[in-house]
C-alpha cells in the first residue's frame, strides 16, 4: 500500500494551476507548493497561513470555490478546486 504513488489532483491557487496528492488537505498542498500564506487579517492586513495544522487556531482560513473562511488544514483538495487568497473576512463582495 504505502510507497505506491497516489493519484494527483489538479486545482488552482490565485489563478495558478497546482497539483495535490489525492487525500491531501488544501493547506498541505499549498505548503508543498512553496506557499506560506493565503489570507490577510481583518485588522492589520497581515499574512497568515498554517499555524496549528489541526483545526484549532483558524489561522489558515481561505476562500475555496467562492466560499470564504474554510480551514485549509482540514479540508481535502477536490479536483478543479478554485482556491484564492482571503482578504479579511472574505466578504468584500457584500460591501457597498
Amino acid at each position: 500500500m504505502s510507497g505506491t504513488s497516489k493519484a494527483t489532483i489538479q486545482f488552482s491557487f490565485d489563478g495558478v494551476a497546482l497539483t495535490a496528492v489525492e487525500g491531501q488537505s488544501i493547506g498541505a498542498a499549498l505548503i508543498a507548493a512553496g506557499h506560506r500564506s493565503w489570507r490577510t487579517t481583518r485588522i492589520n492586513g497581515a499574512p497568515r497561513g498554517i499555524f496549528c495544522g489541526i483545526g484549532i487556531c483558524f489561522d489558515c482560513l481561505v476562500t475555496v470555490n467562492g466560499r470564504p473562511s474554510r480551514r485549509a488544514c482540514l479540508i481535502d483538495v477536490q479536483p478543479g478546486d478554485v482556491v484564492v487568497t482571503q482578504e479579511g473576512a472574505g466578504h468584500a463582495d457584500l460591501a457597498g
Binding site: G23, A32, A46, I50, C52, I54, I56, F58, C73, L74
Partner: protein
Amino acid sequence: MPTSPAENALPDSGFDQDFFDVAVLGAGPAGLAAAGSAAAAGARVALVDAGKRTGGQYWRHRHGDDGKHHTGWSTYQSLEQAIERRAERIEHLAGHSVWQVETLPGPMFRVNMTTGDGERVILARTVIVATGAYDRQLPFPGWTVPGVFTAGAAQALLKGQGVLAGSRIVVAGTGVFLLAVAAGLAEGGAEVVGVFEAGGAPTSFARHPVALARNLTKLGEGAHYTRILARHRIPYRTHTAVVRARGAESLTGVVTAKLDRDWRVIDGSEQEIDCDTLAVGYGFTPQLELAVQLGCSTRLDFDGSLVAVVDADQLSSSPGVYVAGEATGVGGAALCVVEGEIAGRSAAAATGHAPTDGRTAGRLRRTRTARHQFATALLEAFPVRPGWMDWPDEDTIVCRCEEVTVGEITEAITELGAGDPRAVKLYSRPGMGLCQGRVCGYAISCLVADRAGHTPTVADLQGVAGRPIAQPITLGQLARAHHRSIE
C-alpha cells in the same frame, strides 16, 4: 422533550440508529480504547471524531500508512482491530465535529454534531469525553509570521499529509515532544538546525527513580529520538528559547537566547539563526470545552493546565459523564489508552453491560497508577516559568484572531480595571475570535494573573475555557437545535 410517538420511542431497544449506550467523543488513544472496551462489554457505542480516520493527533496517519514513523503503532493496530471485531456494536461517526452536548433528564445526553454542510444528532445514556489536547503556545515577537508553526502542526503535516513544513527548521519550546518532532522532521529529510529547550535536560526527571523504573518503554522511546538527533548531528540546547521570529511576509530567521531559572533572557546571549521554519510548543493544553459544557469539575494540573476531575472509574463530577486521556491531565498516549479502557468499562457497566473479568480491573488500575506517576514526573520536569512574559514587546500580538496586543491587554488591566481574564476579554477582545481563546487563553491567564501578582487560578483558566458552542456552525444549525430542545 420530544412529544411525537416516533421521537418518544427512545431507550427501549439498542437498535435505534440514533440511540447509544455510550457516546465516545474523540477517536484518539483514549477514545479508541474506550469504544473498544465498552463494546466488548456489550454496550452499543458511537465513536465520534472530526477526523476522517481514527487515531487522533497522536496516531494521525495517511491512507495506507505502514506506521513506520509512528510510535506505538502496534498498539493503534490492536485498538483498531478490537473495534473492528465489535463493528456491529460500534458506529464510527468520522468527520463529525461535536459543537454541543446537552444534558437531558435521566440523565440522557444529546450530542449535536456538524459535518460541515450537514448535521447529525444522537442520544446516549453516557458520554466519554476523550477530546485530547493541542500545543500550548507562548507569544513572542514575530510568532504570527507565516513559517512559524506549532510543533504539532509540523508533526501533523508530516505524519498526516506527507509534507515537510519547510526545509531549514528550528524546533523550540519545552518538553520531550520536541525530540519526537525534530527526529521526525530530520528523518523526513528536513535540515533541523537545532532543538532549543527552554527548561533543563530531559534527564532531570531521574529524580523520580520509581516512576522511571516502571516506565522503561517510554524511556526507550526518548532514547530512540535522542539517537536520531545524534545521527543527524542536530544540536540540543537546554535553557535556551526562541525569543523573536524575523520576517514580514514569511519567516527568515529567529533569535535565540539563554534563559535563567525563571526563563528571563540572559542579556547578551542572543543569537541570530537563519531558517525558513520554526516549530514551537510549550507543552499541551487539554481540550476541555465539552467537559466544561457538561458541568464537570475542574482542577489545575502540575503543568498549570485546567483538567477535568475524575474518580477511580474515570467518572467526572457530572453523573453519566466519564473523561479519559489528556482532558484529565496530559500524560501521553500510553496513559490515555489505559484511562480509555477503564472509562469504557465503567460506562458500559453503568448502562447494564458489566465486564465480567474482575481481575482485569485491578491490573488496569495498577497500570494507570504507574503511567500516571511517570506522566507527573515529566510534567514536573518541564514547567513553564513566568519569565517568558518578558519576551513579548508591547505591540506583540497575543490573540491571533482579534489581533490584540500585550499593550492592549495591559491597558485593560491598568486603565480599565479588569481584574480577571473574563473582564480583559470583554474590554479588549482577546479570546473572542474564531478560535475562542484556545490558542491565547493560557497566555492571557498568565498575563492577567501576573499583573495582579499571582499565578493563574482555576477560576482564571475557567474564564477562558468555556465555549458554549464548541465549533463554528451556521445560524440554521443553531436554530434547528433550539427547535429540537423546545419540542
